[in-house]
Every structure is written in C-alpha cells, then in structure tokens.
Symmetry: C2
Subunit: 244 residues, 2 copies
C-alpha cells in the first residue's frame, strides 16, 4: 500500500460496504417480497405476510445465515405455514424462481459511485467489506466493474465488532487510521466506532428491518453522515486538513 | 510463521481440505438424500430420483453454488418436477427440515484426525482451505475443536487453480513449498499439482459425483496417496529426509 502514502494521509484504508452502499440490493428483496405477497394474496393481508416472513427469517438466521438462498427457504417455509400446506407446487416453484432471478440480476451502481470510487482509489487504498453468501457476493463484485479499484475484498459471515477487529489486525491497520463507509448503522457504523475507528453513514432509502437500529445516529468523534457517496471526497479533504 | 522455521522444513505451509478430509460431511448429504428418496418412493425409483436430483444440482450450480442451502433448493425443485407439483406441503417442509438438521449436525472428525493434526501443527504452519457456504463452514470449524491448530482459515467459493494461485500469492507462499491434503482429486489435488505444488490424496469412501474425476490419480512428482491422515507424519518425515 506504500505507493498511496507518498503524502501522509489521515487514513491508511477506506473500507466500503457493498450492498446498498455501492450498488442496489435491498430493492431485489423488496421486489421479490412484493411478488411473494401477490402469490399469497388470497390467504392473508400483505402486512401479515410481511410480519410472518420476517419472523421466519429471524428464526432461521442462526442456521441459514444471510443471503438470497436463505431468503428463498424462509419464503417457502412461510408460504407453507400461512397456507397450512395448501400452496400449490407451481407457487413453490415460482418462489424458487424469484431467488434465481435475484441471483442473476444485473448489478446497478448507486448514483455517484462510478465517478467517486476511482477518485478515492487514487488517494487511498480501498477495501470492500461485505457479508452474505460468498459466491453471490463474488459474482456481484465481478459484475459491478469496480473490483480493480479495491486493494482488498473481504466477505464475512457477519459484520460484528469481533470480525472487524480480526480483519484490522490481520491487515496491520490501526483503528485510528481506518474509515468505514456504509448504509447500515448496525453492521457498518456502530461496531466500527466501538473499535475507535471512523465511520461514514450514508442512509439508503430501503433498509432491511433487521439492519435498522432504534437508537439515533451516534454523536461522537469519528462519526459522519452524508447524503450520498459523491460527497465523500470533500469530507475527506476536510478531515485531511483539520487533522481530525 | 517464523517460529516454525527454526529448522528449515521442506514445506512452508501444509493446507488441509475440511469436508471428508478432517470431518465427515458427505454422509450428511447421503443420509438426507436417502430420506428424500423415501419421500418420493411412491412416484419414482431411487435411481431415477438420484439422477434427476444430480441434474438439478448441476443446472443450479452456477447460481446457487455449493452447500446445504443450495442442496435443499435443488431437492425441492426436483420434488416438484418429479411429482408434477403434486408433492404435499408437509413433504416440502420435511425437505427444509432435512437441511436444518444438516446445518445443526455435530461435527464428527475422521479417524486419526484428532491425534495427527496437533503433531503436524507443532512442526508446520497449517492452513484450512474449504469451499462452500461461509457461515456453515465457519460453524463447522468452530465446532470441530481444531481451529486453534490452524494458522489460517480460507473459505473460498470454488477450489480451482486460479483461486489457489491467488491464495498462495496473497500469503507469499511459493508453490514449491506448499503441500495440500484432501479427498477430492478435482478440488484438492489436480489444481494444486498444476501450480507446481505438492498434494496428498486421501480418498474417502463417500465422494459426491461432481467431485469425481474420471482420470486415474496422476503419476507425477509431488503427488502422494495415503489411506488415512494418520500416515501423513511418516510421509512428511520421509520427504524431509529425501529432500523431495
């Protein structure tokens, strides 16, 4: 990484979350869930289906983990429960097809990402830290066209403080010299701040209920909030000058 | 890793496959598949069900990848196809439960593993290289009780030559100084030999059809075959002395 440090920078590494920070993701789930509710419309209200599906996902999280395949299995299980097993084979197949379409979907970058990432990559070593299904995430990174800008790509099973600590240690990065950028307070911001690193929260219009935390964004040193990633270079220029 | 190299060794790293090299895995799939065939016994012969399930798995591999969740989705899809959608909701739920039981199953080490790994770990830095579902593999490694013996654990989406090459390069290991141990010629042995590294093939009684290669084990320098992992320390002593 030394070629980046000709001039001493405030951060040794800037890390990005991927789903709904660099590219759209949650809307794939929302769209599939809308079609799922249409399948079950004769049995239950949309609100009840949403609530039961979320319950099933939380019950299955320990064993099935995150990702599209886990979501598909939870949709099938919810459909069986909500119809007392009367759902048709064609409808179960339709649910599996939702998953296959999600896995094959184009990667659509968020606004400002395609312009901003190369600018940042010229000044800082960039890291991508994402959680979920290994193969699915690898395919999305490849399809995104962004991978050449990232020095390192880390796919973890969960984004908790212990996993971040291990990742920084393994790469010899001091928390004080690390900045994480993401759309989830729960996964990208709070565990990173807890380590003493810096974090930029960029809220996304769609956020999965599980990632939502009740507490307001923290007011503490090292925490920043931006409206979109296009504002990040300017924030960084400010931080470099102020030495914060 | 330098503490291991007080005496110059033939290998800088010995890497192990996990599933069916260190612990039983394929039998979980075989058992689930047996129950799956019982569910569908009124519709088709066991041979036909096996053949159609394998077809479905291969068709889904690109999108669903390896692992238990992918297997569950392929079983459900096969059941729908083989019953023309007439399979009951209770039977679909039974298939999802097979997957949940597989994910929660105890990790049972293969014979000689518990004795041999600590002996090897005292002489060589050990690495674990496994493919499949990130969370599932992490849980198995934790439950195995072996993780303290491994310097490094790598979970990859596929074990091909490119992924091995990247892994060695990232860790600064020369192929000539790397030995891989595993039960799959396709995933553990052939891609490693192709890089110029060494490989020890330890066949397992149960091997998934997809991992079976038609060609006989290669006759080439750096290739070894053993009956069980308990014979590995002796093989290594021989290699250290012969300088091969």
């Amino acid at each position: 990484m030394s070629q980046h440090n000709k001039i001493m920078s405030r951060f040794d590494t800037i890390a990005f979350d991927a789903d709904d920070t660099l590219w759209h993701n949650e809307r794939l789930y929302v769209n599939a869930q809308t079609k799922f509710k249409q399948l079950l419309a004769q049995y239950h209200s949309p609100e009840w289906i949403d609530a039961r599906l979320y319950q099933t996902e939380m019950r299955n999280l320990d064993h099935f983990g995150y990702g599209i395949k886990a979501f598909a299995l939870s949709m099938i299980e919810t459909a069986l429960e909500l119809t007392e097993g009367r759902i048709s084979g064609a409808d179960i197949q339709a649910i599996i097809n939702f998953a296959r379409e999600m896995l094959a979907a184009d990667v659509e970058l968020l606004e400002h990402v395609a312009d901003t990432i190369p600018i940042l990559a010229a000044k800082y070593p960039l890291m991508l830290i994402t959680k979920g299904d290994l193969r699915d995430q690898e395919m999305k990174i490849a399809r995104s066209g962004l991978s050449a800008h990232f020095h390192q790509i880390e796919i973890v099973s969960d984004k908790n403080q212990a996993n971040y600590a291990r990742l920084l240690q393994r790469n010899g990065i001091l928390p004080d010299r690390f900045l994480m950028v993401g759309n989830s307070l729960r996964s990208d911001i709070l565990p990173v701040l807890a380590l003493g690193a810096s974090a930029v929260y960029i809220p996304h219009r769609l956020t999965w209920q599980h990632e939502v935390v009740d507490s307001p964004p923290p007011e503490q040193p090292g925490y920043y909030q931006l409206e979109h990633v296009g504002l990040l270079p300017e924030l960084l220029v400010g931080l470099e000058h102020s030495g914060q």
